[in-house]
């Protein structure tokens, strides 16, 4: 597709263009685009615009405009080239200004080109254009847009449209070179452009102007640069800022002189800024642009004493969560991690834990946090990050995995790791063995399959690798579960996973095998507990690990045993399930026969409710 798809509100059809020239039209019920109506045009289409109370209008790259109806009558008709030397840089935006008068509705076309390229037939009675002309001023061009007869239209094509200067885009000496323009209402326009003051670097900024009083209402600097495009939809600006799609809410109030000269506060200052990160996989990641006052405190985080810093942080944390504060906290975390990097002795573990636990942060909001935590071997923080961040890069996920596998169990004993994910299934050595009353509902017996196995396996190793006891301690298991739970893309993870030392890979595989056996013990193949890994996650990681280390694992003698028993277990599971299917049929028959329940009709039992 070469331009955005639009909807024809009159016929409820959708119109798309692909390969610049091929027009496609389909309706809601059509499923296959290849079978949709197709028309090849003679010129390249730039955009299609849908008018709420008229048919769609097609704008060609050469500047020509046709309504869709006219175009469909003769798709191959010649389209004139109105502009030859200029390329359309600005997307004409059509906005219905119904509030302007009670009788007329207006379509406004905005464009960078000052020429006469409109030969459009619209259903409007009268209209005018705003044109951001020579980049530093806005002109208003009035053109009549009656439903004309053919002759009149021919005349009009010859007509040179008059223009009137509407607005000068200059801010105290510096000139705004506008790149995009959006009309907000009859008195307000938003201009995105770069502000060039003599002797200074041009700065890109978004400005809102009052055309009635020729005043700049508000402006917002965009230091990371934009693509020069500005969209506006439902009182929100959409623009790219650096690598981030920024959404800015605004509100225009009826213009009054007081508002224009700034006597009325809060009339149309850009409201909340929402930042959407589209460079990462996951949307809705907040990026920080803190308020100026808060920037001051961020500087503080970099060099204030621990005490001052902590009290400052407490104040910040006590504030009600707003998107702005969210961004600020992201900055604070970054500032703290920067400080950790420069001062190796400094590490505010509890604060970082508290922030990550209470705020919905993301990896992209504080990219260095996990790296610092890895360096400090702060497994507790890493676990929480893995559980809470939706956008951890595979590289970091892998680094966590390697760190977790390499940390000694003795060291982990002293760490306060959250064991929620393992507590329900792991074999913890309790004093009272009888407490574990859970019935193994789907008890597969490995010995059942003994005679089928070709490889001779020493009895001792089998019982160990059979998943009877967990190969890692509960703390390590909980950490590994956090890794299993994090999102990843196989292709990105695989190259990192290849770097995992063989011994660690075997340990991890052994743990995965243990989990798999544990899962299979339950009828519903799910492990109990909060955030415990699902069977799909276990299988995916197992496959991935085997893919990454296939050659190594095949060579290692101890891995061979593990692989053999794994293979045997999987094969037995397959056989087991096929047998289950047969049993299911028999059971259904038995159920119909309704045997009397052979249970005690009266008993006194001990029931413990905790």
């Amino acid at each position: 597709l070469t331009c955005p798809v639009v909807c024809n509100f009159e016929t409820h059809e959708y119109i798309a263009v692909h390969d610049d020239k091929v027009l496609r039209i389909w309706k809601n019920e059509d499923i296959n685009l290849d079978k949709a109506f197709k028309a090849t045009l003679s010129a390249d289409v730039y955009r299609i615009h849908s008018l709420p109370n008229g048919g769609p209008v097609v704008l060609f790259k050469g500047g020509g405009v046709r309504t869709l109806d006219v175009l469909l009558e003769a798709p191959q008709q010649e389209i004139e080239n109105v502009i030859s030397d200029e390329v359309i840089r600005y997307i004409p935006v059509l906005i219905l200004l119904s509030a302007f008068t009670a009788f007329c509705s207006f379509w406004m076309f905005f464009c960078h080109i000052l020429s006469k390229f409109f030969s459009t037939k619209t259903h409007c009675e009268r209209g005018f254009f705003f044109l951001s002309g020579s980049n530093d001023s806005v002109y208003q061009v009035l053109i009549p847009l009656q439903q004309d007869t053919e002759e009149e239209e021919a005349e009009k094509e010859e007509e040179i449209l008059s223009r009137s200067l509407l607005l000068n885009l200059s801010v105290s000496g510096s000139v705004l070179k506008g790149t995009s323009l959006v009309v907000l209402d009859k008195d307000h326009v938003a201009v995105l452009g770069s502000l060039a003051a003599p002797g200074k670097e041009p700065r890109e900024c978004l400005t809102i102007w009052n055309t009635k009083f020729q005043t700049l209402q508000t402006s917002k600097e965009l230091p990371l640069g934009t693509t020069g495009q500005l969209w506006c939809y439902e009182e929100k600006f959409f623009l790219t800022h650096g690598k981030v799609l920024t959404v800015i809410m605004y509100k225009c109030e009826t213009s009054s002189l007081a508002a224009a000269v700034g006597k009325l506060k809060d009339s149309q200052t850009p409201g909340k800024n929402l930042f959407y990160n589209y460079s990462e996989k996951i949307l809705a990641v907040l990026k920080p642009v803190p308020c100026v006052s808060e920037l001051h405190s961020i500087c503080l985080f970099q060099d204030a004493s621990t005490y001052v810093l902590e009290s400052e942080l407490r104040q910040l944390m006590a504030k009600a969560p707003t998107p702005d504060l969210q961004a600020t906290i992201g900055c604070v975390v970054t500032a703290l991690t920067d400080r950790c990097k420069t001062n190796p002795k400094y590490y505010p573990k509890n604060f970082l834990l508290q922030i990550v636990e209470t705020r919905d942060l993301s990896y992209s909001l504080c990219p260095d946090l996990m790296a610092v935590a890895l360096e400090k071997k702060d497994v507790q923080l890493l676990q929480i990050c893995l559980q809470r961040f939706p956008d951890i890069p595979e590289e970091i996920t892998y680094a966590c995995l390697e760190a977790f596998l390499s940390i000694s169990e003795a060291h982990l004993q002293s760490e306060d790791v959250n064991l929620d994910s393992v507590i329900c299934y792991i074999d913890v050595e309790f004093d009272n063995k009888e407490v574990k009353t859970e019935i193994v509902e789907n008890g597969f017996n490995a010995e059942m399959d003994q005679d089928m196995c070709d490889t001779k396996i020493p009895k001792k190793t089998q019982s160990r690798s059979d998943g009877e006891s967990c190969p890692v301690g509960p703390q390590k298991a909980a950490l590994l579960n956090a890794v299993l739970h994090s999102a990843y893309t196989e292709t990105f993870l695989l190259p990192h996973l290849k770097n995992l030392p063989a011994q660690q890979a075997i340990l991890f595989l052994r743990y995965l095998y243990y989990l798999y056996v544990k899962c299979s013990e339950k009828v519903n193949t799910t492990l109990p507990g909060i955030r415990s890994p699902t069977i799909n996650q276990i299988m995916d990681w197992m496959c991935l690990l085997l893919d990454a280390h296939f050659t190594v694992i095949v060579m290692l003698p101890e891995a061979k045993e593990l692989l053999a028993s794994l293979h045997k277990f999987v094969r037995a599971q397959v056989r087991f399930y096929s047998e289950l299917n047969k049993i299911e049929g028999s059971l259904q028959e038995l159920q119909r026969l309704n045997h009397l329940r052979d249970s005690q009709t009266y008993s006194i039992e001990v029931l413990e409710i905790i």
Binding site: I423, C424, V428, F430, D431, E434, V435, K436, T437, E438, P528, G529, I530, N594, H595, L596, R597, S599, Q600, Y602, S603, I604, E605, V606, L607, E608, I609, I610
Partner: protein, 512 residues
């Protein structure tokens, strides 16, 4: 709506005449009248027939089943009919256009459902679901009428009525079981041993079937109750109310009918003895509560009639101190009466859901109410307002898993030794609600008892929450607390009575 023609003329429709050759006689089990003047009949030949009301002629006939069609219900729009049959199958007939977009419409048998093993005696058609009743009650949502997949789009099956069929004499340790046409009084067994969780203890005294009381006549028993001391027993049928004096002398038990029971307007929907067994409360279908004083050695007199409810009273809850009585009427209003001065005390703020159980706390006189949508509230009778805990529960909201249960709470009781405990049960679980513990949120496991049991004592504390749920006994008909550490639970395995049911339809099968 249907209007009858002014001259009372009788049109006789001979349903049987087309199958005269058949030796069996045709029985019409159900009819429905459509506003167009069409009579719909369901008969023992498994046919659903449409007749012209005035001419008496047959318009359409559909044989939906090879066995009898027993029940019939028409949707409000009259474009869909549900038919119940004796094989347990239900069928939907829909009025559909003959051609797509055409005007001519015909009745077409569209969907068969098989949710019952035996007769479907009653069916109902709600705007979005088919409801059928036989040995079980099934609500089958019509998927085309359900907007989104969710709680409402789930098939629901109810095996037991949502009312109490067992009553317990706490002090005397007796249980009274209510069957459709008789009552059984049992004395509970006992043990002298103790043990660990899950252990079955040896009995030192076996349970004893004391008495079986058959109700006279064909009427079903509506409600029954045994007094806490175990010396009074009452039950009501559709037309009569009976009160008995139970005497245990040694091993023998004798029942003596109380003569000259005050004339009450039957039927009684609920009977409830006071905690001291001095009086009996009878909830009447006319919206009043009769307070009878029980007299030694075996008599009674009418003490008071508490009025105020506009519809039939179906649930009663007296307070342990004999001061208060809460009564729920059919319009879901809960009236609280002061029994000391026989005055109407207050009405609990109405909630747009049926009350499924209620009870008054013995020490605080807080009224705990369970609604059929699984909401729980606690209302202070002396202060005439919801308690702080109840408000906290409402603002916090109940756990999702709790709210999405199918069966309503049918009984509430309290632990006299621990005022913070509220014991509740439905058909599938019993719950000790500990008000002193934090409420669970949706992210925590609601039924965490088995998890807790696996944890060491020290680690349990972090995981504890207010809802201590035990699902060991299913289907659970009744649960009551006899004393501080003795809980009586009545289970009714579905298989027990399913095996006693005859085959739904005698059918000859090849090879059998």
């Amino acid at each position: 709506s249907t209007t009858w023609h002014p001259p009372p003329e009788v049109t006789r429709i001979m349903v049987n005449h087309r199958v005269e050759k058949a030796k069996r006689e045709c029985v019409v089990w159900a009819i429905a009248l459509l506003s167009s003047g069409t009579v719909v009949s369901a008969d023992s030949f498994g046919r659903v027939q449409f007749w012209d009301w005035q001419q008496g002629t047959l318009a359409e006939s559909h044989t939906v089943s090879s066995s009898a069609a027993l029940s019939l219900a028409v949707s409000e729009k009259e474009d869909s009919i549900v038919v119940g049959t004796s094989t347990g199958a239900t069928y939907q007939l829909q009025l559909l256009p003959v051609k797509l977009g055409g005007l001519e419409k015909r009745w077409v048998r569209t969907k068969p459902f098989q949710y019952h093993s035996h007769d479907v005696r009653a069916v109902a058609h709600s705007p979005s679901a088919l409801i059928s009743g036989g040995t079980t009650l099934v609500i089958r949502p019509l998927m085309e009428k359900v907007q989104k997949k969710g709680y409402d789009a789930v098939l629901r099956k109810f095996t037991f009525p949502h009312r109490r069929l067992v009553s317990c004499a706490r002090k005397a340790r007796l249980l009274l079981f209510q069957f459709s046409q008789h009552l059984e009084l049992w004395r509970l067994g006992s043990t002298e041993e103790t043990g660990k969780d899950g252990e079955v203890l040896p009995l030192c005294r076996m349970p004893e079937h004391l008495v079986q009381l058959k109700s006279k006549g064909p009427e079903h028993i509506y409600c029954s109750c045994v007094s806490p001391c175990g010396t009074w027993l009452g039950y009501s049928t559709a037309s009569r109310f009976h009160l008995y004096r139970v005497r245990c002398d040694g091993d023998g038990v004798s029942l003596r009918k109380v003569p000259k029971v005050p004339k009450l307007l039957p039927p009684a929907y609920q009977l409830q003895f006071s905690a001291d067994s001095d009086s009996l409360f009878v909830a009447s279908a006319r919206g009043s509560v009769h307070v009878l004083q029980l007299l030694e050695p075996g008599g009674c007199k009418l003490l008071h009639i508490a009025c105020g409810c506009s519809e039939a009273v179906y649930l009663l809850a007296p307070s342990a101190d004999g001061h208060w009585l809460a009564a729920v009427s059919g319009d879901w209003a809960i009236h609280v009466y002061n029994l000391k001065c026989f005055k109407h005390h207050c009405v609990v703020p109405t909630y747009n859901c049926a009350v499924s159980a209620l009870a008054i706390h013995p020490s605080t006189n807080n009224l705990v109410i369970a609604y059929s949508d699984q909401q729980l509230v606690e209302f202070s009778i002396p202060e005439k307002q919801y308690t702080g805990w109840s408000r906290a529960l409402q603002s916090r909201g109940l756990h999702r898993a709790w709210l999405e249960r199918d069966s309503p709470i049918t009984h509430i009781t309290f632990n006299p030794k621990n005022p913070a405990h509220i014991l509740l049960h439905d058909t599938y679980l019993l719950c000790v609600l500990d008000k002193s513990l934090p409420l669970p949120d949706d992210s925590t496991l609601l039924m965490n008892q088995s998890t807790l049991k696996q944890l060491p004592e020290t680690a349990r504390k972090r995981q504890l929450h207010a809802f201590k749920i035990c699902k060991k006994f299913q289907p659970l008909l009744f649960m009551d607390l006899l004393d501080e550490n003795c809980l009586v639970v009545v289970e009714r395995p579905i298989m027990d009575f399913k095996t006693q049911l005859p085959m739904p339809v005698q059918q000859k099968k090849f090879g059998t």
